[in-house]
Amino acid sequence: MSVSAHLPGNDPYHGQELTLVDAVNLALDHEMASDPTVVLLGEDIGTNGGVFRATVNLREKYGCKRVMDTPLAETLIAGTAVGMAMNGLRPVAEIQFMGFIYATFEHLVSHASRIRNRTRGRLSCPLVLRAPFGGGIHAPEHHSESTEAMLAHIPGLRVVVPSSPQRAYGLLRSAIRDPDPVVFLEPKRIYRAGKHALQHEYDYLPLDTCFTLREGDDVTLVTWGALVVETLAAANLLAEQGVSAEVIDVASLKPLDMDTILASVERTGRCVIVHEAARSHGVGAEISAQIAERGLLSLRAPVERVTGFDTPMPYFRNERYYLPDATDIVAAALRTLEAGA
């Protein structure tokens, strides 16, 4: 469908200031309004409107035929979404927390990502699998996972991570309209971090480009999800010390837009990659590897990775010991400046 497709009402969110989770809700609402094949399924998404209220009011508005509370079974949710997508619908499935996404992997790896390829285009699988991810909300075990790297490795998938209300809205609408399967990971720690007004020109944001949130010349800070907030904070701290940092929100982890990142590092010669996920074999590894492999000559200091540890997220009492923060990012940035001095 064309990006300029008519929206219900001529300015549905005029003036409204929205949180990230509000924006998710609004994107679902608008896509359901403009395309009758868009349906929602998941646990507690109907009457309850989702445990984070991401689907609130949609059951009332579009009925239980299009907003389906499923039995408690993640494999089923993913597999059913695959079957719906192969038979003409655009399902948006919710996995209540990323910690419960693993049961969906067989359907993502062995089916969703391969249907088009397997049938040489006869069938396709335009589904979106949404899941809140990341830590920092003092939740019980399994409610703080960041295992996006496992998904980013899967050929045929798209993996998208918004980090602002506008990007949540624009990327989710594009994800729903995308003809291929998209895993859409929502940083729940910043679901309600701040309210912003949306702008029409960003109703549909591209799924294969990074977003440069702040320009700078001395060091490139690359991140996604909730840590975008910490990274922007770090950029401010660095500015106070006279260091000009460029901040890139990767947003789409697969496919990966290395051009934007490489172009920035070409200029700055220094790069710090920030993610909450466990360090080893995280998405940061691929980015760091490509920078070195393709940008080696322009690098003035080794790439730094500021990440979670290779441990499970500790129970919430010690969670803060695990989560990278602005101070860690600043320190890493300064190391690259010393190294490259």
């Binding site: 079957g83 062995s110 088009r116 397997r118 003809p179």
Partner: protein, 367 residues
């Protein structure tokens, strides 16, 4: 209370192993000419599947095809499903459904290409909507539930038929989908092809349930057994279940009792684990001979029909094999060209590299 909750599971058989009448035919069979058409059609489809299946095994044995999973002995189930379904219904197969797929419009050359290691074998030209064979056991059951939900959402009165093996009934994918089919009353028919073995694991080691049909009890929908080597019985029960689903009355689980007359696949040797005597006995209940005897006894089939049917079918299969063997492989670029609707820029370089490697491997033949 310390014993299994007792339960009665319906079982249907019309034709005995020797092809004589086991019990009165269903009412719809009263119309003799209608019945004849049905029976002849079923027999035709079973023979076509048998001949193509035999030829496929031969191709593998002679190194001209890959590992192949034979449907030998299960032709009645496939033929019955194929005939009972309407064109706009949707078939979600496992991988021993040759007879059903051919009736649904899948071309023999496509099944050959599929088993020959070529994705184009899934690009059914004349069967736009059906799902391709599914290798990860039981996962297709969830897809079938989703496809049935899509019909429901669009308010279409089409039905999904999904097959699976006896081993597949042990997997969560099937059990979760079955439960959903019950609670959402989906227009869906599950047909378990219980051929008594899951590779080397006998039916008895899959479940302590005396029947697999009774897995429906925990999902709140009807379950029944049928003689899977009696094409007429399978046709009757699958048709009834499809009608029920089309009328909005919900899903049905059918356990079709049959036997895997071949090895699990051409990569398997059943002699390692399966008693010869059991196999020999199973051949006595084989579906083609049974239906032929019944047709002949009714005067609906004779020598010359048999001959001409085989002549026609052999010819059809031979043509398909020729086309299959004459089909050049896809270019290396094909592995990228239907990965996404549009190839992401990030993958362009890899696509070029694949083409270059292929050119090297094929001695300059670029693609």
């Amino acid at each position: 209370m310390n014993m299994q909750t007792p339960i009665k599971v319906p079982f249907t058989r019309y034709l005995s192993a020797d092809g004589t009448l086991h019990t009165n035919l269903p009412d719809w069979a009263a119309d003799a000419s209608h019945l004849r058409k049905i029976l002849q059609q079923l027999y035709h489809d079973m023979v076509l599947a048998r001949v193509l299946d035999t030829r496929s095994v031969a191709l593998q044995r002679t190194g001209r095809m890959g590992t192949y999973a034979s449907c030998l002995g299960q032709e009645a189930i496939g033929a019955a499903i194929g005939l009972a379904m309407q064109p706009d219904d949707l078939f979600v197969p496992y991988y021993r459904d040759l007879a059903a797929q051919l009736r649904r419009g899948v071309r023999p050359v496509e099944t050959l290409l599929y088993w020959g290691g070529d994705e184009r074998g899934n690009a059914y030209r004349d069967c736009a909507g059906d799902f391709p064979n599914c290798v990860p056991i039981a996962t297709q059951c969830c897809h079938a539930a989703g496809a049935a939900t899509a019909f429901r959402v669009r308010g279409e009165r089409h039905v999904v038929v999904c097959t699976l093996g006896d081993g597949a009934t042990s997997r969560g994918d099937f059990l979760e989908a079955l439960n959903l089919a019950g609670v959402w009353q989906l227009p869906l028919v599950f047909v378990i092809c219980n051929n008594q073995w899951a590779i080397s694991v006998p039916r008895a080691l899959q479940s302590a349930a005396p029947t697999l049909a009774q897995k429906a009890v925990g999902a709140g929908l009807p379950g029944e057994q049928v003689d899977g080597n009696d094409a007429l019985a399978v046709y009757d029960r699958v048709s009834a279940a499809i009608q029920r689903a089309r009328d909005g009355k919900g899903a049905t689980l059918i356990e079709a009792l049959t036997y895997r007359l071949g090895d699990h696949t051409t990569a398997d040797d059943a002699n390692r684990y399966r008693p010869q005597a059991e196999l020999k006995a199973a051949w006595e209940r084989e579906p083609l001979g049974r239906l032929r005897s019944f047709l002949v006894a009714r005067g609906d089939w004779g020598e010359w029909q048999e001959k001409s049917l085989y002549r026609e079918v052999e010819q059809q299969v031979a043509t398909a094999v020729e086309e299959y063997l004459a089909t050049p492989p896809e270019p290396a670029s094909a592995m990228f060209d239907s990965l996404y609707a549009e190839l992401p820029a990030a993958l362009q370089a890899q696509r070029d590299a694949a083409i270059a490697r292929a050119a090297r491997l094929d001695g300059g033949a670029a693609s």
